[in-house]
């Protein structure tokens, strides 16, 4: 065994696979090739970014969070308020929203460091509910149930105005998604990322090899919050409004489902899950608009009973 064997093996994970550029090229091609689908591409890109941010926390660090919508929502409202009161520049707005979400993420990270899965579930859920309540009560700022509407943003990069067909929006979202995805990708393949996986797999041993567990979790939670905030900002900026819906529990629940379908712990899981979920949702809501949540529920139940890792291998479904 030569020296190259070990190093090559380690680097294999971080090397860009051949299919990856193809995948992204295809993604960027869709709004041009199928202009009528630009709007849904935009939605998928936003939700994929949201899912990737949760994967950092859930898939790579093992923190079960049911309230990730808190950061999405904060990003969304920050972007809305920034546009309304400070400047319609989408880029500044995006950065400010990420910053706000990061601050909340940093503060909230201290609540998920200790306790059982149930405690963490409760605390994360609680945070999202608190923000929902606050947004509801302070309706002079947030517009209450109506939300903040009719926002107009300046053109992207000074040149590309947001069009009704959603083409500029979809490219804007795809670009932000790709940029943050690349960052996330480097993070998970770095030594830092490896320490996160160690914390997830065996926190006791992680401590016993000198990893400062709390510091690492605080860091990843803050980063993930910033990314979720970016997704929220994109949501507001590409749709022109922000409402209480951004904090709703179903957002966090849908997100978990996406990540689980796509697979946790490999980043593309969030993207794949987002694509599958959104397309499925589109299809099912047009078929049974009222009861699509029933089919979603059934899908979840079957998914778990069959086994998450066996979902993509139909030949294992009936083995015991």
């Amino acid at each position: 065994m030569t020296g190259n064997g070990a190093q090559a093996s380690l680097l294999r994970a971080s090397r860009v696979k051949k299919w990856e550029p193809v995948f992204w090229l295809l993604a960027f091609a869709v709004p041009v090739v199928m202009p009528s689908e630009a709007l849904i591409v935009n939605e998928i890109a936003i939700v994929a970014l949201f899912a990737v941010s949760l994967d950092l926390v859930l898939g790579y660090s093992g923190i079960v969070s049911l309230g990730h919508a808190a950061f999405f929502g904060l990003g969304a409202y920050t972007a809305a308020l920034f546009c309304k009161h400070v400047s319609p520049d989408p880029h500044m707005g995006l950065l400010v929203s990420m910053g706000a979400a990061a601050v909340l993420g940093f503060a909230a990270s201290f609540t998920v460091l200790r306790g059982s899965d149930l405690t963490r579930l409760m605390v994360t859920l609680g945070l999202a509910l608190i923000l929902l309540e606050l947004a509801n009560k302070f309706d002079d700022i947030t517009g209450g149930t109506d939300g903040i509407q009719g926002l107009v943003f300046s053109p992207v990069l000074g040149k590309f105005e947001f069009d009704l067909a959603g083409r500029v929006a979809s490219y804007y979202s795809l670009a932000v998604l790709l940029a943050l995805f690349i960052i996330a990708r480097r993070i998970v393949h770095s030594p830092f990322g490896a320490t996160l996986e160690a914390i997830r797999d065996n926190r006791l041993r992680a401590m016993a090899i000198g990893i400062p567990v709390h510091a690492r979790l605080i860091a990843v939670y803050t980063i993930a919050a910033a990314m979720a905030g970016a997704a929220g900002a994109l949501f507001t900026q590409t749709s022109g409004f922000s409402s209480l819906d951004v904090f709703e529990f179903h957002r966090s629940a849908d997100l978990m489902l996406m990540l689980v379908v796509g697979g946790t712990g490999w980043l593309y899981g969030g993207v794949v899950g987002a694509i599958v979920f959104k397309l499925l949702q589109d299809f099912l809501s047009s078929q049974t608009p009222q009861y699509w949540s029933f089919w979603l529920g059934l899908f979840l139940v079957v998914l778990v009973l069959v086994g998450r890792d066996r979902l993509l291998k139909p030949w294992t479904w009936f083995k015991r």
Partner: protein
């Protein structure tokens, strides 16, 4: 107590641990000399693992002091003790199920060399880290298994990895908690060889039930019974000690003391 003549690298002074009404650790004082091969023995339930947990900071003592290289670490967080050179292995292997031995060691070495907070470079980018991993893989006979996910490793290999991880932390003080526990006879030899080949400047505290290993390895022994120190001395002294014999023969009908 004072380290002037004997260069004590780790010292537990009057350690007491109470859980409600139970005294798990009863006023234990133990000095580990530099370069020692010190064994900690005692019947099941004597509190050996509890003592290791106290030394490593997993448990906080009810009273008492722990001094490492002259520094009082009684209140120091567990991961900081590791950073100061005190490393342990676990009786039941505590590994990272989804990572391969190579990835695990790369992680540990990176963390130890201060790269743990590096967000940007890929894990295998540093040649010196990779080199150290290869050394450890060779030393612990894990080369063929280096790309196998830990959850799929054979038990003996897992035990080897368990110790390799500890060594990857470049320990100055190594606490081995029953390293050959449950290892099938065929794989014990590998493990025993690596334990015997540990660097001479590493101070080792070994907890073991296997008396063959203990008597061939240790230059000093402490006997723990019911959470307290019964006696301490050289292996010869311990083997001849009547109280120790009573504890073991009274307990287990002598099969633990059997050594050929």
């Amino acid at each position: 107590m004072s380290g002037i003549t004997k260069d004590i690298v780790l010292s537990a002074q009057g350690l007491v641990k109470r859980f409600g009404g139970i005294v798990a650790t009863n006023n234990v004082t133990l000095d580990l000399r530099r370069g020692a091969r010190h064994a900690l023995i005692g019947p099941n339930g004597a509190g050996k693992t509890t003592l290791v947990n106290l030394l490593t900071g997993v448990l906080a003592p009810t009273s008492g002091r722990i001094v490492l290289e002259g520094e009082d670490i009684t209140r120091l967080a567990p991961h900081k003790r590791v950073q100061r050179g005190m490393v342990r292995t676990f009786q039941i292997s505590q590994l990272f199920a989804s990572m391969t031995p190579l990835e695990t060691l790369a992680l540990v070495v990176s963390q130890h060399r201060g790269l743990g907070a590096n967000l940007w470079q890929p894990l295998g980018a540093r040649a010196d880290v990779v080199q150290r991993c290869e050394e450890l893989l060779r030393q612990f006979h894990l080369v063929e298994a280096m790309d196998v996910r830990t959850e799929h490793l054979a038990y003996g290999k897992r035990r080897l990895l368990e110790i390799a991880i500890a060594l990857a932390c470049e320990p100055r003080v190594l606490l081995l908690d029953e390293p050959v526990a449950g290892v099938p006879a065929g794989e014990r030899e590998e493990l025993l060889q690596t334990v015997a080949a540990l660097p001479a400047d590493v101070s080792v505290l070994l907890i073991e039930h296997d008396m063959d290993l203990v008597f061939s390895f240790a230059d000093r022994m402490t006997v723990l019974v019911n959470g307290g120190v019964l006696v301490e001395g050289t292996p010869d002294e311990i083997a001849r000690n009547d109280e120790v014999k009573a504890v073991y023969l009274g307990h287990d009908a002598g099969n633990e003391v059997a050594h050929g």
